[in-house]
């Protein structure tokens, strides 16, 4: 809410709050009143666990050996960062993030164009159809994809045995490359609708006059896209990329259900889960979680500072 206040009164100078007009002041107050309760709840459910995790990460602490708890400073971080498991998992996570976001962006843009151009009569139906995968619970979709490709119960090997490399004896989940393919395909199938909706909102923001004027000037379809439409929806694209990148970086369900991290498919969230929850190593697991959190912050920082994503701009406030 506070961001919307800022954008709706762009003339005030941030460094001199006393210059706010009465109207702006009232708006600010209302903004805080509205956001205040949510802000407190956010502090309670996010800030507290994060601080607790940072605190726990400084200890050697195993849940089943509470008496042996011992302060070891940054020892847990040293163990993690010097272990190739961390770097391998980071690599796998980044690979999944980059591949899925790029593919989703291209597919999502195509779907958004289709939805944008579709006749009014079918637009609602089309939008619903495209949104169905996004409405499915991730665990359910993960199981659906798992059973489709599973060597014992799957139909994919039979249906697609005309594709080179696929035969009835192909065990998709027996090696990293094919497992990652299925994991990423499932992820893309499920979240492309999300990106396409964000991009559709961006497309709707591009004034028709601009594209029409370009058309009158003799611009081709490709020129209209690259010179008029895309630059005008840059903010929407960057927000979509940022949201999806953060989501994809924290991928868990698909990997957990399909391979449980076997054969080089382990991602960072799964490593954090296995260390804290399976091994009950609260200290080490908290350290993994804190590092994962830092990675997410880094992605945000890079997106906002380097690519200048304007989170407020995409809300239609300008």
């Amino acid at each position: 809410m506070s961001t919307s206040v800022k954008t709706s009164s762009p003339k005030t100078e941030p460094r001199a709050p006393q210059q706010y007009s009465d109207r702006a002041k009232a708006e600010r107050r209302l903004g805080w009143l509205l956001a205040g309760p949510a802000f407190v709840v956010m502090l309670a459910v996010t800030a507290y666990p994060i601080l607790q995790a940072v605190f726990d990460s400084l200890f050697s602490y195993r849940l089943t050996a509470p008496d042996e708890r011992e302060f070891i400073g940054l020892g847990n971080y040293a163990v993690i960062l010097s272990d190739q498991v961390w770097w391998r998992d980071l690599g796998v996570t980044l690979l999944i993030t980059v591949v899925t976001v790029v593919v989703e962006l291209i597919l999502g843009f195509a779907l958004a164009l289709v939805m944008h151009k579709a006749l009014k009569s079918v637009r609602g139906l089309l939008r619903t159809a495209i949104l169905v995968p996004y409405g499915i619970i991730t665990v359910v979709s993960a199981f659906a994809w798992f059973y489709a490709f599973d060597i014992n119960s799957g139909f994919v090997n039979n249906w697609f045995d005309w594709v080179p490399g696929i035969d009835p004896d192909l065990n998709w989940f027996a090696q990293g490359s094919t497992s990652l393919f299925v994991i990423m395909a499932s992820e893309i199938w499920k979240t492309t609708p999300f990106i396409s909706l964000l991009l559709l909102a961006g497309l709707a923001q591009v004034p028709d006059e601009l594209t029409e004027a370009a058309e009158v000037d003799g611009a081709t379809w490709w020129e209209r896209m690259s010179r008029v439409v895309l630059p005008n929806m840059k903010a929407a694209i960057m927000v979509a990329v940022l949201f999806r990148a953060l989501d994809a970086f924290r991928i868990f369900d698909n990997v957990f259900i399909m391979t449980n991290g076997a054969f080089g498919t382990e991602v960072l969230s799964l490593l954090a889960y296995r260390t804290s929850i399976s091994r009950l190593e609260i200290g080490l697991g908290s350290a993994v979680s804190v590092l994962l959190f830092i990675c997410v912050l880094l992605i945000c920082f890079i997106a906002i500072k380097l690519f200048k994503v304007d989170l407020a701009g995409a809300r239609g406030g300008k």
Partner: protein
């Protein structure tokens, strides 16, 4: 735009928020009320089965004459997730853990920090008579009974009589893994083993190492930094050889790297089935499939069973040991009633009944006398014999680290190298236990 939206969103959200608060308050009030009144309720955390534990709970509730009421609460499907849930609840001091169905390998981890209520001496005496040795060993920690054996499981070697005959194997005599590998090769069939990255892999490795006369951990009761691993012994290398051969030569089918007990049963039932090591659940499951018409009736006639294969000729086999023991949480509000209920649950009659209805073999030898068992499970005597020979998995509070490391390094089976895998696994487990490595 934002101005127009604000009042709207405010109106939309308020009823929802109110409803949320009301539900939360209601739930708090309800849970507060239920805990107090009437007969003491014992919560029994059960592993999923075919309803057998639920039935026993009802029966014992009725027999208690109003002294207690047993309520069951279902744990997750696989043993590892069951352990996760129970360990976290125990560590947090959950007082609802009155009775727990526990997988034996995870018992030391819970017993060491004192998460389990001590077993009263008289209960120990009454519940340990006629219990097979392996199950009894699995119920103890540092020489003391910390849980009560309920049912005991073991793997048998199941074989297709037609394949064994064609391969010229005399199944009335003990067979070795090498013979099975040779037979499957010569008959162009698949062996039913569990090669997936999961607990079943550790079960297999442990049975092979123990059958070859070795041990995965030589001093399982030692603290983390003093544990000595026996993987690099001849027994460990021989175990790696068997797993590696089956993996590399494709004898376990293309599905081997993701094969669990259920998948190997399906493989065994099919045209490519030959020999399979598996728990006794396959017998009722196969019979049910035949009755349902999904499998041919002649299959039942073709299935034979014997003791788990040997590793070395002339040395006895050490089949895998599984099962469920019953423990009581240290924070339980009614430990005495809980042990009273456990005594009711583990009576030989209930164990026999549970075997017949759910296919889980009794830990009490007396239960095997039941005529119903002999009728439903023609292999009951083989199971009993196998239980007497079986060897538990390493009983250490660090079992989770040991089994996860084994699963990481010994899968897929085709990647196991008898020369290096046992050595690197042992070094890996040591460094994980010393806190120098992630798992």
């Amino acid at each position: 735009m934002p101005h127009a939206e604000r009042p709207q969103s405010r109106n939309r959200n308020r009823p929802r928020a109110l409803a949320g608060v009301t539900v939360a308050l209601g739930a708090m009030l309800l849970s507060g009320c239920a805990a107090e009144s009437g007969t003491p309720t014992l919560t029994w955390y059960i592993n999923p089965d075919d309803g057998g534990q639920e039935a026993i709970a009802e029966k014992c509730t009725a027999e208690s004459g109003g002294a207690y009421r047993i309520e069951t609460s279902l744990l997750p499907n696989d043993a590892a997730s069951q352990r996760e849930q129970l360990a976290r609840r125990l560590a947090a001091g959950d007082s609802s853990l009155d009775i727990m169905s526990l997988d034996p390998p995870f018992i030391p981890e819970l017993a060491e920090p004192g998460f389990l209520a001590p077993v009263p001496a008289d209960v120990t005496e009454r519940t340990t008579q006629n219990v097979v040795e392996g199950a009894l060993a699995g119920a103890q920690w540092k020489g003391e009974l910390v849980t009560v054996p309920f049912w005991a499981n073991t793997q048998l070697l199941w074989y297709r009589k037609s394949v064994a005959e064609a391969a010229g194997l005399d199944m009335s005599q003990p067979v070795t893994w090498d013979q099975l590998i040779e037979a499957a090769e010569s008959q162009d069939k698949y062996l039913g083993v569990q090669g997936q990255r999961g607990e079943s892999m550790t079960v297999w490795i442990n049975a092979l190492v123990e059958s070859a006369g070795g041990q995965i951990i030589e001093n399982p009761e030692a603290p983390a930094d003093e544990i000595r691993l026996g993987l690099t012994s001849d027994a460990g290398v021989k175990a790696a050889e068997i797993i590696s051969t089956i993996g590399k030569e494709g004898l376990g089918s293309p599905g081997l790297p993701t094969q669990d007990e259920n998948n190997s049963m399906i493989l065994f039932q099919g045209d490519d089935g030959s020999f399979m090591v598996n728990w006794p659940f396959v017998w009722p499951a196969t019979n049910a499939a035949v009755e349902a018409g999904s499998l041919d009736e002649s299959l039942i006639e073709d299935i034979g069973w014997t003791l788990y294969p040997r590793v070395n000729e002339g040395e006895p086999t050490a089949p895998p040991l599984g099962g469920i023991n019953l423990g009581v949480g240290a924070e339980s509000e009614h430990p005495d009633l809980a042990y009273q209920a456990i005594e009711c649950i583990v009576t030989p009659e209930n164990q026999a009944e549970y075997f017949v209805t759910n296919g889980n073999p009794p830990s009490n030898t007396e239960a095997y006398e039941d005529p119903q068992i002999q009728e439903n499970f023609p292999m009951a005597d083989t199971i009993r014999e196998s239980l007497e020979l079986s060897a538990p998995r390493p009983q250490t509070p660090y079992y989770n680290e040991v089994t996860t490391s084994l699963q990481l390094r010994w899968t897929p089976p085709a990647d196991v190298d008898p020369q290096s895998t046992p050595r690197t696994t042992a070094a890996f487990i040591e460094s994980v236990l010393e806190g120098e490595n992630l798992l």
